[in-house]
Amino acid sequence: MSHSSYQKRIDRPAGITLAMVIIGLLAVCAGATGRRFTFTYEPETMPQGAKEFEQWITLRTQRTKNVDQENYNQWDFREEFEYGVTDNYQVALYLNGRSTSYRSKVEGDVSDFSFEGFSLENIYNVLNPATKPVGLSLYLEGTYSGEEAEIEQKLIFGQRHGDWKWALNLTHATEWEDNLHEVEGELEATLGVGRDLGKRWCVALELRSITKIPNYEEFETTALYLGPTVSYRQDNWWAGLSILPQVWGRDWDHSGDGYDNLDLAHNERVHIRLLFGIDF
């Protein structure tokens, strides 16, 4: 592939990507219940009647050329509209987009942007952490994009202890891919522990474990991520940033990524997530 044609293929998705980022940033200026973690949900639900817009930007970066995916970057963009139906039940609608690029010996320089469909999220708070020893919420999310679909369930635990807060998510998801012909199971556990620094700032650590099971037959991959999260909140908006490097991984299908203690065939070396939220 010539340099110019490579640039052309790169520029188009990059332009769309940039536009989505700018829309997200501009939205922040308009005017939230702050999240302390970006990968881990907390059990508290929104007050009845509350509305919020969230912009999600997630970068999953760096696999390995040993699996023909050199300089791998995947950007996920999600625009979320949340609404508090009751004090214990909230719903959210997501628009999902994805930009993927990498260098391949077989395919050349690959760059692709795709619309990943809509998601509908439901969270029901069963145990209020303010009155119970541990807070608990149930989470159900469905995603559909025409060719792919997913159903995700979570148990969300959490509690506050003075300025400290923790949350634990246990997640199971089923994905239908390839025009709904292929099925894959995913197990995930996420733990966040954070400390408020005054009324505005919170610093936290997040630990995330991901396991994928194609066709629910054999484990394909397990990866463990650990890293810091910083969040800031004002009366009407908030933001959070996480940088989670992979600290351990295993490709159970022996994909030949060349790493004994990391999986860079199905997972990336670093996950970075930036969230903005605004009340309206």
Binding site: T33, E44, T45, P47, Q48, G49, A50, G84, D87, N128, P129, A130, T131, R160, G162, D163, D196, D235, D279
Partner: protein, 95 residues
């Protein structure tokens, strides 16, 4: 003279608040505690009203009224309950 008048006005306001707080029945108190757990302590750590000045507390109540989407009757009940705690130095943490 003006200072005396201002002090008198504040005293009357404080007295009227206390009088209002005294009107909370046992049922109102139970409802206020429940409301406080759902609308306040669910979203953030519980800040004791007694640690704030009247003006400072009133400012936070107004900001939280909007954020927690409190209905007028909910705001009135919470205000009376928490102002009573603030004015009398009561600790009302929900746990």
């Amino acid at each position: 003279m003006r200072a005396v008048a201002v002090c008198f006005l504040f005293s009357m306001l404080a007295a009227s608040r206390l009088a209002a707080a005294e009107k909370l029945s046992a049922n109102d108190l139970a409802a206020a505690r429940k409301l406080s757990a759902v609308k306040c302590a669910k979203c953030h750590k519980f800040y004791e009203p007694a640690d704030y000045s009247q003006a400072g507390w009133a400012d936070w109540m107004e900001r939280m009224r909007r954020k927690a989407k409190l209905k007028p009757e909910q705001f009135d009940l919470l205000s009376r309950y928490l102002e009573d705690a603030r004015a009398n130095g009561k600790r009302v943490g929900t746990k």
